[in-house]
Amino acid sequence: METNTKNMFETMANMQKQAVENLTNATEQMQKNLFTPNMVDSDIFKKWYDSQMSFFNQNKSDNKNTANPMEFFNTWMNNQMETAKTWFSNNNNPFINNMNMNDDMKKNYDNMMSMFSNWSGTMNNTYSEMLKNFNAGSGKDAFSGLFNNAEMYMKSFEFWMPMFKSIQDKSFTPETFKQLFNAPLFKDMMDKMFNLQPDFMKNMNEEAKANMFKMMDSNKGMFDNMKNMMTSNMPNGNEMFTQIFDNYNKVYNSMNSGAAPLMKLMPQGEAKQNIESMNELVNEFNVFNMKNNQMQYMMYATGLKAIEQVADSISAKVRNGEEVNNFMSIYSEWLAINDKNFVTLFETDEYSKMQADLSSFGMKLKRNINLKMEKAMENLPLINRTEMDELYKTVYELRKRINVLEKQIDTDSTETVVKAKPVAKKATKNS
């Protein structure tokens, strides 16, 4: 426990330092770009940090408190909550003032999100470190789940945060949602959901994802274009991806045709076979990646549809004069609407076939990579997977044979005592 306590103090101290540095930088940047100089007193963060550190130092040397690190940590956390609350509630805080300026919402958007991201990111890092202080077991698993849920909740919170003001003053409309739609955050939320999916969906091509969302993020005004493209292309038989596949196949075939005369010049042998098999592997890899992207596209398009429905629902409530008093209700509604949309997607023939295709391509690729690896290492004194599988099969068949023979002995035996395996014999005598 002493080591854990020490680790925790060090972790928190480092995280605090990092948080203050990030927040100070963000604030300074915000001052430079948007606000009148000196409107924000960045010393507030220095003071905050100093007070936190003095608290740490005091507790580090105080055996009574370190004996119960959680009691200490709770006090620290309460302190921090109060600080955050005061910070965000302060009427002189330009952050809040600017939240009240509807016409300037977009102007402040990036700065606000930057500060929140730093704060929540720091919190997430702290808790990731805290997780390391757990011993393996049920508590660790549950904390991990709790933490993942909180992370998801905070991502969602961050996504909706710029819209809270308009929800509060009942000016929120689908148009507000489109204006403040944050593509990278939406991607993060979807990715958290994708972590719940099978491995082949987890292993999505990061580069392709980045490109897709670079386009989405390049201009928030592109929301409509992106949405229209996603939603209109998908029901029309994935024309976009069909086109990509066709183009790829044309290029691949052209390259092969171009290389064919050269390949004919090569003598038959291992080198030629290697080139051909590598060519085949690269092709399989590309086909798999394209399918993978298509699957991702389907998932993101569904996620987009779901979150738009949440926005519509909030907008309807606002129109009807209903109060949206807390974020948990928005979060819960989003989870429910998301489930409904994704289950509807999963039940479609398109999804089933897409998943089957992706699985099939993935398995083929994995099998071929395994075989290539075996081939590459065939001269090393290692037992490869194929050989082990043969061994397993032999063991399996021998074991079956033994079972048959044992049963024959049982049948032939005149003994009336139950003939079973050693464990059973002993147990029967004792029971």
Partner: protein, 348 residues
């Protein structure tokens, strides 16, 4: 909703995490399956346990229970006050439980024949011989129910009764999207490539029936922190849920292709070894239990067997609850288990 209010709401989430950290770190690993039992038989990875009784059983014919291969049977004895096994003991049954084990790489060649004609048949024979009964009561849950029904159709002479809980028999239609997926997916490629099928893959598939479940179930966790009993119940269930064995490749291949994809079982076209499986051959009394809120196995899939089974003494029972609740929930312990035990005893 105002800036300070929403900030406070968010920071409260953090506070709940802190509280969770404090309490969960103090909890040692929770234990499941603690009702005393003894290992009485083992063949390779499969084990048979006999539950210890303090008093003689009031039902002389023993009961052999088989759970699904894709989950652990520990859920039948999750905790003392939510233990189907303990309840059966309390109500006078002599209970044996199969443990299918954790297939390793070397088990990839185990087939459905090995599981049903081999392990299950050997376990039944062991119980019959060691207790001196020609016939025993057989119970099966979920996939264990399907396997038990297949067994019962091949060896009807060895069973006194058959009881199945939430077992899938008819895999047609789209009531369960997983049934639909298996119509498209290339099972051979999966087994040939991976050997055993990873538990995570199966679990993820079932998870997609309700994608947010893994997140939303933790929404209520912070509120449980002040209630140690509730919290440990949650942790036990989580422990069980995370403890999934991989599936032996060849068993998976036949199970999914013949049953899930081609639906041969209910059509009377399924073959196991040299046996043609025909539910008309099940002639012993049969009790079929389904859960009205089952989101994993559609009710129509479970009840379909009633039209094709040979038993004249057959009963169907609708349990008002979900797939897991049927063997874990308090209503299951209070109402369902006594009904099942009475049904079994009446036929002993």
């Amino acid at each position: 909703m105002n800036a300070a209010g929403i900030m406070e709401e968010m920071t409260k989430t953090i506070e709940k995490l802190v509280k969770g950290y404090e309490i969960l770190q103090k909890i040692e690993d929770v234990e499941v399956a603690t009702t005393p039992k003894k290992l009485v038989w083992q063949s390779d990875l499969v084990k048979l346990y006999h539950y210890k009784r303090e008093t003689p059983a009031t039902c002389k014919i023993p009961v052999l229970v088989s759970f699904a291969i894709m989950n652990r049977q520990d859920v039948l004895d999750l905790q003392p006050d939510r233990s189907l096994m303990k309840k059966f003991l309390d109500l006078g049954l002599d209970v044996y439980l199969m443990d299918w084990g954790y297939p390793q790489k070397q088990h990839r060649y185990l087939t459905m024949e090995d599981y049903i004609l081999g392990f299950m048949n050997d376990a039944v024979d062991f119980v019959r011989k060691s207790t001196g009964n020609d016939k025993i009561h057989k119970m099966g849950i979920c996939q264990g129910g399907t396997f038990s029904a297949i067994y019962a159709s091949i060896f009807p002479e060895k069973l006194k009764t058959l009881t199945t809980y939430v077992a899938p028999y008819d895999f047609s239609g789209n009531a369960n999207m997983l049934y639909k997926w298996t119509k498209d997916i290339d099972i051979d490629a999966m087994v040939d490539t991976m050997g055993n099928i990873p538990a995570k893959m199966i679990d993820s598939g079932f998870g997609m029936l309700k994608p947010s479940a893994e997140v939303s179930k933790f929404l209520g966790l912070p509120e449980m922190m002040g209630d140690e009993a509730k919290l440990t119940n949650f942790l036990r269930m989580e422990k069980w849920k995370n403890d999934c064995p991989d599936l032996a490749g060849e068993m998976f291949r036949k199970y999914i292709k013949d049953l899930w994809r081609d639906n041969k079982l209910i059509k009377g076209e399924f073959e196991l070894g040299n046996h043609k499986v025909n539910f008309k051959n099940i002639t012993m009394p049969f009790l079929n239990i389904y859960a009205t809120e089952d989101n994993i196995i559609p009710n129509s899939s479970t009840t379909a067997i009633d039209k094709v089974i040979g038993s004249k003494d057959k009963s169907e029972h609708a349990f008002h609850g979900g797939h897991i609740g049927v063997f874990v929930g308090s209503k299951s312990q209070k109402e369902l288990a006594p009904m099942v035990v009475k049904w079994v005893k009446d036929r002993s």
